[in-house]
Symmetry: C2
Amino acid sequence: MAQPVVTTRVLRRLLKTGAHFRAEKLLQKIHPADLGPLLSDLTPDEIRIVIDLLFKHHRAATMLTELPPELLPEIIDSISDQRLADVLNRLELDDMLELVDAIPEERRSVVMQHLPVARREELRHAELYPPRSAGRAMTTNFSALDEKMTAQEAIESLRASGINGSDAILYLYVVDELQRLTGVVPIRRLVTAQPETPVRELAIREMLSTPPDADQEEVAGLVARYDLLAIPVTDVDGTMLGVITVDDVIDVITEEATQDIYNLAGLSEEDRIFTSARVSISKRLPWMLVNLCTAFGAGAIVGVFEGTLDRMVSLAIFLPVVAGIGGNGGIQTLTVITRAIALGEIEFSSGMRAVGKEMFVGLVVGSAAGVISGAIAYLLHGNLYMGLVLFLAMIVTMVTASLVGAAVPLLLKAMGQDPALGSGILVTFAADALGFFSFLGIATLLLDRIA
Amino acid sequence: MAQPVVTTRVLRRLLKTGAHFRAEKLLQKIHPADLGPLLSDLTPDEIRIVIDLLFKHHRAATMLTELPPELLPEIIDSISDQRLADVLNRLELDDMLELVDAIPEERRSVVMQHLPVARREELRHAELYPPRSAGRAMTTNFSALDEKMTAQEAIESLRASGINGSDAILYLYVVDELQRLTGVVPIRRLVTAQPETPVRELAIREMLSTPPDADQEEVAGLVARYDLLAIPVTDVDGTMLGVITVDDVIDVITEEATQDIYNLAGLSEEDRIFTSARVSISKRLPWMLVNLCTAFGAGAIVGVFEGTLDRMVSLAIFLPVVAGIGGNGGIQTLTVITRAIALGEIEFSSGMRAVGKEMFVGLVVGSAAGVISGAIAYLLHGNLYMGLVLFLAMIVTMVTASLVGAAVPLLLKAMGQDPALGSGILVTFAADALGFFSFLGIATLLLDRIA
């Protein structure tokens, strides 16, 4: 397989010198999955030439599905309606849906006119399923077997579907006369079965399936948990609708992990590394406004104690220490809990146990931080009470930050919300506010002894 | 499939009332993957009974591999050496390696004595591969075909391996007389091939393979990228050693995502939701010490400007605002970049472009934050210069925090280190330090105009 970096350089040179025929040869050798990263290093003009070359080999369709989403709008713009429809027609349903979503709404219906009626119907039907559902992630391209067939007949039917049949067929789905799923035959069983065995006897009857409106993350969880290679999607009456394969599940798992990491930082999923600066800015501004409110909230608490600070300004040195340690502890707790929720390791009942544990960990780590920073404060000021103030404030802040970090995601989950969304900013705010309040509050109480 | 929550309740009642036979019946119906979550809700005594029941059905082996890692030590302690060896003997190589790692070192050699010599050798050989390598993640249980075989002979050989042959066989590996891999036959091709076709002709000859010492994350990346279902592991001379299957790849991807999320928060991978508090505390203490150093560092910067604060103590209100917005912006940048690195979306060259973009985004978002907070400062103090100080400090902090958030992970990666490890604390420190320094520094310069 060609090295991507080397390939980019060679391809650019070939395009620049107008050696399109040799560029075409090179492109043929590249796996569709490698085209995306390669294209992101080309200029828009070069990309347009490459797409033309790919169209010659009917490879533009797979290429478009592998492209980084931030490049897509520009490239779609440069493709004619007819060509776009050709591309859509070549794709499996799930990839087709994704690409349609990337076409600007005003152009969509025009492009659709160029699609064959059957495919247009299929698409319209799939669009009725909610976003991120099994119905949108499934492929309708699966092998169904009549339950009255023998193994030999099943093999013949597979052979007949020859050219379209993919190497990736793993299971055959046995359906009754109403197209209801009654069993699954792993293809391996078909290989070694006696020719006259009915497929009914080869089938696994107890199998998992999923309704089309199930959340794709839950479906991915099932496939991962039970080590499946594919899961059938069936209607309420058991009618076979499609199949979700493990390669799509891997994409879902990767996507959902990105979403979890992003949510903790208050980022929108669309804000990717090569998204245009304009999009990134528009996604981050609202979050910054929320953050500004909480930051001024924390500042206001400092303002309450202006009198104390005025009498002893050196207290200000310790503010970032209490808030920083508390914030870090809270974020650690938040991360452990949200990841456990995402991996399905926790229910609300066992959640209470987790909250207890995290508060205990916060107490111990906070006490250790309190002893060290209290000792430093004592050494700096030569005043034992000063050390005591920092020690107490650190414990209060750490325990409360741990409580907030553990409880907030569990509560959000219980309310049916995303457990990570906005949690990070809340935990940081809690640590800041509580850190400032406890430290300056205790200092005010003991002011006559420390000042 | 039985509902896990209901099952736990029923199982506990059966165990409490001594109805072991009915508990056994219930356990038989539970999928191994559901046993782990179920066991984590039982007491150690109950777990011991359940393990005894599972041993009766030779199901203890799969159960142990599905158990949450934090429960494992306790349970391993309660199993005899002979039984533990029986369990190991039933497992595939990768699961075996994982379980061996969980046995305390002093006990390991005793348990190994109970293993058949061949398996002991296999284990010893696998342990020579580095941790987290393909050699440790592969299974040695694959179907090899002699390249001289016909399709019919291949089917016969599959049939002969009957009982051991799993439904999950997807590819057959064609090897020459020296066991060197020469091609891959998707099992589907075997089904529809003419009986007398040589397997050589059915095989795909251009295929990916991986050396045994490759990092498992890279291998998982290959499988995900090229939508593979399995990837063969071969020695330098092409000898077929084993296979990594897509279900193991899913586990690797999930593990690596956890590691990425954890690294950003400075958490150790072993610090999971139900890890004992003792372990969690011991993992978090060193990180807290590092954090304490950076927090006191930020505090020291405030200390430098004690004179300024002494003259105008109300400046302290704005310290958390500048540091908070800067820290949030820096963490957002850090998250975008580390995720892109993890997904292989970025190389060092395109990294420079990303740094530029992030600094520009920081400039715009920082300016917006500066205008708003500057206006608030002006309204609070009725002093235009006060607003100017906040405006300028906010921009400086945001741009620099964005630079640090983008550059640190790229530099760590270029140095061959984990891009996320320690980055979070560094970015927060940079935002705090720069926020305090720029705000108090500019305030000091303009002190006569604002005080």
